[in-house]
Amino acid sequence: MSDYILEMNHITKEFSGVKALDDVNLKVKKGEIHAICGENGAGKSTLMNVLSGVYPFGTYEGDILYKGEHCKFHNLRDSEAKGIVIIHQELALSPLLSVAENVFIGNEQTSSKGIIDWTLTRSRAQEMLAKVGLEHEDVNVPINTLGVGKQQLIEIAKAMAKKVELLILDEPTAALNDEESKKLLDIMLQLKSQGITCIIISHKLNEIEYVSDSVTIIRDGKTIETLVKGVDDYSEDRVIKAMVGREMTNRYPAREGVNIGDVIFEVRNWNVFHPDDEHRQMLKDINIKVRAGEVVGLAGLMGAGRTELAMSLFGRSYGQKISGTILINGKEVHIKTVKDAVSNKLAYISEDRKTYGLNLIGDIKENMTIAARPFFFSKNGVINANDEIVAAQEYKERINVKANSINQVVGSLSGGNQQKVVVAKWMLTQPDVLIMDEPTRGIDVGAKYEIYCVINELAKSGKAIIVISSEMPEIIGTCDRCYVINEGEIAGELNKDEFSQERIMQLIMAHMRKGDGNGN
């Protein structure tokens, strides 16, 4: 028998013709901590969903060998029965139930007749908590009275209660501070000493270097290589190179004939606190400037605070205890509501069009004109229907929304066309400053190209544009300049001639190390 507990061979998984995973191979040794690294959208989570049975056997190609057995999981229960437990980024806890109940959710401790045995539940919960270093916690309190760090550990306790042998952690430290992260990583090392195998997905390379024994790098749905600690070069730079080493092709239309003018949008000393926790600072002393005709990127990892920055600027739609100054066209503006923002010529295209951007049961015209309506398409509160029709028709053609008519319901359009409707909605408010949050997320290459063309057109007409993107090639391909944001602070600023994915990653890592240094 081999010393591998898990072998995933030639895994290929398609979503309606698009290969999310393409011949991926992953071998995990028994008792090790194995890290999986890759950019956003590289296919890490998809791979773990294949392993845990979220995507059932038969919906993918390839073979899973676990403890020498061929596995055909049809759902999560099948994999859990074998001792494979996955802990997702979003915690699967029921906030108002007690710690003990949460530890045994879906795995209730019952007497022979199916009635819950509360004494057993509590005593066994206490036992599980001890294994993750929480022996002093009261198992009877509602779980939402504990911090995120402890909740994350309780997720592990929950897995322990299921007799876990292979534990998968998807970005476990994304929402944790340094101290909590350190504690969690140490618990992982402790589990390792008890013989439990772990797979950890993380963006934080310093953590991977600290905790893992080997790392597999995935890029664009393919395995690039596996590095082993003590054998290969295990430095962050080496891992970054493997993560981003892709050829840049001509996917971005050239922007020509743009005159970059004066600064028309400036943010000074912007501070924002978490909406639910007034002591948790989400953004610290942010200063940014954008010139007319300039496209400025906000690069950073997920959870770095970019969307929070955009939404807090846009009519204080995020956070509390907001302080700082916004200047538009050199004048200080006071933006307290979204309406203030729109009347001050600021627009924000949100990252999640279905949740924050569109009324899916409304038609194209309605969605395009809703934000601009009070300013351009009405008089004394009465809508000028003809103006709306003309404008919606014009924008439908101008940015090439593929639909039968402007009366088509937006929910029936493809993702790319939906995104174009959102873009049109904000172009119609005639903004001077546009913040575009992940403008091409989840849309196909052709639609992406069209969105980039719209960005170029807007820049040409002298707008100031901020592009938030988790895809570094997109920042590099579309922006004139970019700010790198990490943990709510500006980690650095790069001009077009300094752009490279390595530079961006290095700035992020340097900032993280600085943060660690301060913390200790």
Partner: protein, 391 residues
């Protein structure tokens, strides 16, 4: 070139289907009651008895558009009616004072509910369940569980009176010329507006329905108008309640389709988060929707008291359910964001025809409730299933 660009749309069956269902149910009862439901006096009753449900359904539609309901309207109807009654009977004051007081009380209840819903974010279901209980209790307390009446004729005119008429002998009775003239004007307006909308669609190169579909729709609409007005002309002319209804339908139809505020209700119901990020103050929208509901409830309360000629503690009992059901039968989406004033009104009339037809057949109100419940469930089930098919 011209023909190539011509786009064909097909009739939205759901929209006109409601009218067909209305006619279908009416014909069904015409058969079972041997024509009793089509008699002029019964058509008149249909309008007078359903006036208040129509008024409530108009306000309720706005609540339903936000994805919520107002359970308190029946109780507000009772409270406002009793306030009007007490002012006229106990304090012997002018009917205009009574009407203004009732409207003010309605607005106050709306402000009360709106404040809790919009600015304290208490779920509308809970807030209006509370106003339902409080309103009913208040009515019994105010009236000391007694009926207050009778009111004078000039007040009762609101609920039971007729507009001026010019009657001429016709067949075995009389015919009101005013009703016929109004029907002619209504027909011209309808044909003209349909023609104009067709021309606008052509001009902007939108999909247009084939001519035969437009013609069919016009024929159905004209048939309904002439049927109603002819029957009313054969009775006593146009009821005053009809005037109130038509004005409210026109005003709220305009608000919901042609004003910024009206469309904001749809945007809120379709996606509240997106509406917020589009600069819509959704709390404000919620607030005014419920204030408006209180206001319309008071109008319904005034009309009901006038029709009954008295204020009773049980007035308006269960009206909230009729109003809510009207909206859903009229095609409004339970989750909010879709629905129309015309739909809600047609829904109210479908409910009214069911009540009226079953009463004529001798069913008790208890049995009527069973059928009304079944019709509501059937209408919404069909609506949901047809949507699922489309997607």
């Amino acid at each position: 070139m011209e023909t190539k660009n011509k786009k064909i749309a097909n009739m939205d069956l759901k929209q006109y289907g409601m009218f067909l269902i209305l006619i279908g149910i009416f014909i069904l009862f015409a058969i079972t009651t041997k024509g009793a439901n089509a008699k002029p006096v019964n058509i008149n009753n249909l309008i007078m008895q359903n006036g208040y449900v129509v008024i409530l359904a108009i306000g309720m539609l706005l609540c339903v558009l936000t994805g919520n309901i107002d359970l308190g309207v029946g109780s507000v109807v009772a409270v406002t009616g009793s306030v009007a009654g007490i002012i006229m009977i106990d304090y012997k004051m002018n009917m205009w004072v009574a009407i203004l007081a009732a409207l003010a009380v309605g607005l106050l209840t709306g402000l009360f509910a709106g404040f809790f819903i919009a600015y304290l974010s208490i779920p509308p279901f809970v807030v209006t369940l509370a106003t339902m209980l409080m309103g009913r209790g208040l009515t019994y307390t105010l009236l000391q569980a007694q009926t207050k009446g009778p009111f004078n004729e000039s007040y009762n005119f609101i609920g039971a009176g007729f507009l001026p008429s010019i009657k001429v002998p016709f067949m075995d009775g009389t015919l009101d010329i005013v009703s016929i003239v109004v029907a002619i004007i209504a027909s011209i307006v309808l044909i003209f507006s349909e023609f104009k909308s067709y021309a606008t669609k052509k001009k902007y190169n939108f999909a247009v329905n084939p001519i035969w579909q437009i013609a069919l729709k016009l024929v159905i609409m004209l048939f309904i108008i002439w049927f109603f007005f002819y029957k009313l002309a054969r009775n006593n002319g146009l009821p005053f309640v009809l005037l109130i209804m038509v004005i409210l339908i026109a005003v709220y139809g305009f608000i919901t389709s042609k004003t910024v505020a009206g469309r904001q209700i749809y945007a809120l119901g379709g996606n509240r988060k997106a509406a917020n990020l589009s600069g819509i103050d959704t709390n404000k929208v919620f607030f005014w929707v419920y204030v408006n509901m209180g206001f319309l409830s008071s109008i319904a309360g005034i009309v009901l008291a006038a029709r009954n000629g008295s204020a009773t503690p049980k007035a308006g009992d269960g009206f909230e359910m009729d109003a809510i059901a009207s909206c859903y039968i009229g095609g409004a989406a339970v989750a909010g964001g879709a629905g129309s004033i015309v739909g809600a009104v047609v829904g109210a009339f479908i409910m009214g025809i069911l009540n009226n037809g079953m009463s004529l057949m001798g069913f008790t109100t208890d049995v009527q409730k069973i059928f009304k419940g079944m019709v509501l469930l059937l209408a919404v089930t069909l609506d949901v299933l047809s949507k699922r098919k489309k997607s």
